[in-house]
Assembly symmetry: none
Homo-oligomer: 229 residues x 2
DNA sequence: TAACAATGTTCACAAAACCTTTACCATTAT
DNA sequence: ATAATGGTAAAGGTTTTGTGAACATTGTTA
């Protein structure tokens, strides 16, 4: 990975960790400790990508993200301690390209950086609205919207994310633990029966919508989005 | 939670507390009181996860973590009295999977163990879809699906696993005990007639599906998936 | 700030699916 | 013929899942 990286975090230990790791990966790394410094370095240093912590004194990550977006479309990955869905949405709305939750796995972060760079260089601006479609079903992550039989239906974020994940990996079975991992996040602490309840509520909403697909229980294993016929 | 746990702490009271608690949770627990002992037990006992105290006489937790990482990728949770960020960063850099601060809440610790195990097992098998195919027969472990003559057929997990095993080792005979071993698990305690019943139910489902293979009884020995012609 | 609404999580119990054992009969080998 | 082995139906018993309701959390509004 041969890119210029700007790391923005008020915690020197984390900055140092990231610097060491990504220099070993072959990146050039510049570090900024607060929002103002970040903006200065961004203009001077012209990095290929920004790793931006959300919680910082003075100017927070959202503000920095907004200001960078006024002058550049370079990819930004937000880093936060909160796994809050709203945060994720806010971040993506402000033009961030990805979102990583502390404590992060360095390997995963590295993979995400590569993925974002790939997207960025492939189509600098395709504005890819990732929409999943099946019979009478339409899910847009960009709009965070669910349409059944063509009509928008209110749905809580977690349910939407779960349905989106299952539908975009249709026919494949996932255990509850795998779903917690993929949808709730790898650092989620909680009961796997939570998945059951979300599936139950999804099924209520999806009842009588289509007979060409179904949220199926695979006994002893987990759930899958099954496509029929 | 059915895992083997290695607890490393120089305080016997804490070891005992953890041992009692996690045995009640269904784990097997081994205790080591210092770093050297920890490494020996790790090699001998082959635990699924290590709970590792940072501050210990002689060899400290960092050192133990480093040495375990030289021989294994098994998950490690570091336990420390300091909530210092530096500690956390160092720990994660050394390859620890999570970090818990004393005094800890047993429930939270338990939840973290589950979360780490989830991550670990999710990463461990980036399963390609291993599909078994014979005439009019298709078994996918990833989809947990059985197709006969191209059409999906509902089937309980044990039956699917048994058929999958036999078909993926076709023409070879297995005794009931071997099947219990391979399909049910080496620690399964039960009657070997259980296999008969599953074979019977499989045969019902597989009747009239194909004449190019068959679940055959090898008298006095066991069963095999036989390919004809 | 307090009350409220929406969402997410946990819990307990009911329901369903599945697995195992048992008993009895059929088949095979000697 | 008889002893050993396999097939099968049915009866529990166990595990897993569904579900309603309570509780917790978060964000919103008055």
């Amino acid at each position: 990975m041969d890119i210029k990286l700007l790391v923005v975090d008020d915690d020197p230990a984390i900055c140092e960790l990231l610097r060491v790791y990504f220099e070993k990966e072959g990146c050039k790394v510049k570090v900024a400790q607060d929002g103002a410094e970040a903006l200065n370095y961004f203009k001077l240093y012209e990095p290929d990508m920004v790793l931006l912590d959300v919680m910082m004194p003075k100017k927070d990550g959202w503000q920095v993200c907004r200001e960078i977006r006024e002058i550049s479309q370079k990819p930004i990955i937000m880093v936060s301690a909160k796994s809050d869905t709203i945060d994720k949405v806010v971040g993506l709305e402000l033009g961030a390209d990805d979102f990583v939750v502390k404590p992060f796995d360095l390997k995963e972060l590295s993979a995400r950086i590569k993925a974002v760079m790939r997207r960025y260089s492939a189509h600098a601006k395709t504005g890819d609205d990732e929409v999943i479609r099946f019979d009478n079903l339409e899910i847009s992550l960009q709009k965070y919207e669910l349409k059944l039989k063509g009509k928008p239906v209110d749905i809580p974020p977690k349910e939407l994310e779960l349905l989106y994940f299952l539908a975009s990996n249709c026919t494949r079975v996932f255990t509850r633990d795998q779903l917690l991992d993929k949808v709730w996040g790898f650092d989620y602490l909680g009961d796997s029966r939570t998945v059951d309840v979300h599936v139950k509520r999804l099924r209520e909403k999806l009842k009588d919508v289509s007979d060409k697909w179904v949220l199926k229980t695979v006994w002893g294993v987990g759930y899958k989005f099954e496509v029929l016929q």
